[in-house]
């Protein structure tokens, strides 16, 4: 058993950073939140829905409607173009119409890849792929965004770009985001920091230098500079 006693409540619009050593159970926790895995006991309740009461089929439906994922290795579908990758969650949700299509393409515009809409993922750089992945995670307007080391595979400069995007598109849109990371630099962004130690969730104090109020990323920048 990786996770033993996890007891936490998250607020809408919060960015929670999840820390922990390799194998500590971070990904397992994300899987529980996404309804990919089921806990042996206890409940996972997301915006009023108890995932543990749902069967596999309904958890999948819940995920497709309300959860967005960003992975370390981008995980775009190589057989679909950039635009199609973005539209897939909408199609799965069954809400593809002219308006949502436009919104998805706007998202592409926002991540700065409107001109690569018809390219296949293997033609894109790592940073570009992750930007598409961010857009895809948000295309269907989920409550919850789960990011599993989204910058783990990117260089520093690109990492900043992606984080800026996540911050701008997620937190400011009022979505809850849980980000697993090893990078302490990102920690400065968090509203809350929790870490997993010996299967338990431990709330950590926020960094004292964390500025309050202003754009967190701007703060991160200033913090770094």
């Amino acid at each position: 058993m990786v996770l033993e006693s996890v007891d936490a409540e998250l607020q809408r619009g919060e960015l929670v950073v999840l820390l922990g050593k390799s194998g500590s159970g971070k990904s397992t926790l994300l899987n529980l939140l996404a309804g990919i895995d089921q806990p042996d006991s206890g409940t996972v309740e997301i915006f009023g829905t108890d995932l543990t009461t749902l069967n596999e089929e309904h958890r999948t439906l819940f995920r497709r409607d309300h959860v967005g994922f960003v992975f370390q290795f981008f995980n775009l579908l190589p057989t679909l173009t950039v635009a199609e990758n973005l539209l897939l969650p909408l199609e799965l949700k069954g809400t593809v119409d002219a308006q949502s299509r436009e919104r998805a393409l706007d998202l592409l515009q926002e991540v700065g890849l409107a001109d690569r809409a018809d390219a296949f993922p293997d033609r894109l750089s790592g940073g570009e792929q992750q930007r598409v992945a961010v857009a895809r995670a948000l295309a269907h307007d989920p409550y919850l965004v789960l990011a599993d080391e989204p910058t783990g595979n990117l260089d520093r400069e690109t990492s900043h770009e992606v984080l800026e995007l996540l911050d701008r598109l997620t937190r400011r849109a009022g979505k809850t985001m849980i980000m697993v990371t090893h990078s302490h630099e990102v920690v400065g962004l968090a509203d809350r920091i929790v870490s997993i130690r010996s299967g338990r969730l431990v709330e950590q104090p926020l960094s004292p230098q964390r500025p309050v109020g202003s754009s967190s990323l701007a703060a991160l920048r200033s913090h770094r500079s």
Binding site: I36, L61, T79, L80
Partner: protein
Amino acid sequence: MTSLLRRSSWRYLTAHPAQVGLAILGVALGVAVAVAIDLANASAERAFRLSTESVTGRATHQIVGGPSGVPDSLFANLVTALPTGNQRFLATPVLERWVSTPLSEGRTLRLVGVDLLSEGAFRPHLAALGATGREFDLGPFLTEPGAVALGMETAEELGLEVGDALPVAVDGQLRELQIIAVLEGQEERGSQALGDLILADLATAQETLGSLQRLSRIDLILPSGTDSETLVTGLQRRLPSGIRLLPAETRTNAVAGMLDAFQLNLRALSLLAMVCGTFLVYNTISFSVVQRRELLGRLRVLGVRRREVFRLVLGEAAIIGCIGAVIGILLGIVLGSGLVHLVTQTINDLYFQLTVRRLVLAPTVLLEGLLLGVGASIVAALVPAREAAATAPRQALQRSALEGKLRRQLPRTVIFGIGLIAFGALLLWPAGSVLLAFGGVFLLLLGFAVLTPAAVIALMRAARPLAYRLFGLLGSMAARGVTASLSRTAVAIAALTIAVSVTVGMGVMIDSFRHTLVRWLGHTLAADIYVSPTRPGSPGAAGAPLQPEVAERIAALAGVDRVNTLRSVVLDTDSGPLRLSAADLDERGRDSFDFRYGERNEVWQQMAQGAVMISEPFAYRRGLAVGDQLRLPTDAGPRSFPVAGVYYDYGSDQGVVLMERPTYDRWFDDRGFSALAVFVQPGTDVDSVLAGVRRVAGPRQQLIARSNREIRQLSLEIFDRTFAITDVLRLLAGAVAFLGVLGALMALQLERGREIGVLRANGLTPRQVWKLVTGETTLMGLASGLLSLPVGWVLAMVMIEIVNRRSFGWTLQVTLSPSIFLQAVLLALVAAVLAGLFPAHRLAATSPATALRQD
């Protein structure tokens, strides 16, 4: 499923053209063979129905007699007895006989004599020709001697026109007919129905056929309903003894039914290629699932449901099946037009005369082909689709995980395989139908296929030390490689094993059949020379008699020791036509029979007292045993004969009833001979006597006289021709299995790029890579070859002991020739090695850097 998922799926398929192409080709070949055989069968059947219909027409009943037919006075009596005013039924006389023409070797035509005055209601297509044809003048047709009309297609084929003479041989005697009209069918159906007909006025036909005052039958149209029954009983009462009233379809159905077993056997065999094709689809789809394990995992994370993944994979299989089936149907039509000749040839050799001019594209057959291709592909994809749907989100389904799972499931797989075999054996057990027997055969094959992974592991474990000793580490690695990707190699080995074991099974069966036939011919053909007016065994011409004068002269020839005679006739019975032979045999003639049931001396004793003996297929078909009574329609009315014995006979799968000549003479009003068996005096040259026979017969009757040796040769030629189609089908199934191995190896090669890259980086030369891969394919081929031996042997036993006996009623002596088994191993080996050449070359040529980057 969303359009984007479909698009993703389609792009994956198009990005792997070789894999998908092979699977499509596999389905296409499987469907092509099945469609081709079905089309050939359907065409033969349709041609038969049409030609029968053209002669039977709308008749509901027929009045038939014994071997010499019906006296035409009976028709006159019937007509005068017809209830006048309120005409309650219609009747018309028919005389028909198959005749040959010297214009075209081997071609037979159906000379039909009708009475045009009473004909109209029966065969409107013929009557209409008479009425509408501007060139068709009834006058000369009725008055000119030998005046006949011929179908347009036949006339063209024989190069004849109106006014030409048409020479025909009737019972070995040449007659000349005059073509006064060439008939053009109103429509396709009409012209095809006219195919083999020579239409003549009844009197002309009687004169030409030497059947004065005789008819083949009287056709009747009786009103339907209860009236009919009373009418039938009334008519039956009025008929003289030996003359019977039968429903018209009895004969047609019974004759068409002769082909059932033959066509079913062909069909079952034709499905073989599809079975191999199914393995190919399974391989392709399961490979695509393993290769896309990550992609499928990502889809699951995005919220694609299990059943959507399941449907996605099945959809891909359906696309492969659809494209394959469409190509297969087109190929099948091409292949069918080739096979229809082989099928027709066999029908003509073994059953009855039939000319099939064109392939009938029966829509049901084409639809069946489509369903077969798509259905088989979907069935093949069920297991991999389930695997794909079970993919947990983000969990990468590794090949090693899959292999591990397969290993864990091995005990269950073995039990399942044994279960399938047991169930298959159960289907074979009871005296069920041929269809059940084939179901059993397919289950057996499937069971053996399921057992393949376990067998491969055992074989490779045994092979590894030997391979190490012979080829060092590379040899050992090759053996290990085969089991390491068992989920893929086992399927390829299973497909190849099935194709090869069917070759072994069919080979042993055909070999045993041939040896049995040779032995039987050697025993049965006791006489030195056989003489008959028609081709021996020619089914349509059983009644053709030999002129008594000719027979006498032959018996009196110098060098002739004794002559045995045979009369062979076809009786119309309630359950269809029945071949009856009457033999006048001496001691040597009797010795030529071998009994399956019944003690020799007792049988001949009872035969002398008026009993009959029946051939093995006849006993099987009618469910008769020694001591039973067989009811036959004789010229003196129906009569029961005790069955004294059941004898071996491989001449006809319909079976023969044999009685002694005195018994025949007692019950039948017919003194003719159909054939003579001539025993030459010891020390006399057979060829000189043969020349004498031909000389004596020449001016009087065209006879076919053949020496014992010639008949033996001819029989074996017919035998080999019959199984020619089997060879074509086996070859095609083999081709599909070959594609299966090629596909499996190519998939393996794609998957193993990295492994080979590591090996190359560690210093393995391209040549060594080539050796490694070729070593693996050689082992796979060897495994297939070895596994196919026991499977093939079981298959052979089932074919000989069950399928063949249930289909045709023959007992075959099993002959196991080692060469067939040796050939099988070689065949599997060569197929696997050939299929491995290209993948081995590709892998050897891969640069280690590229291969390493692949992951």
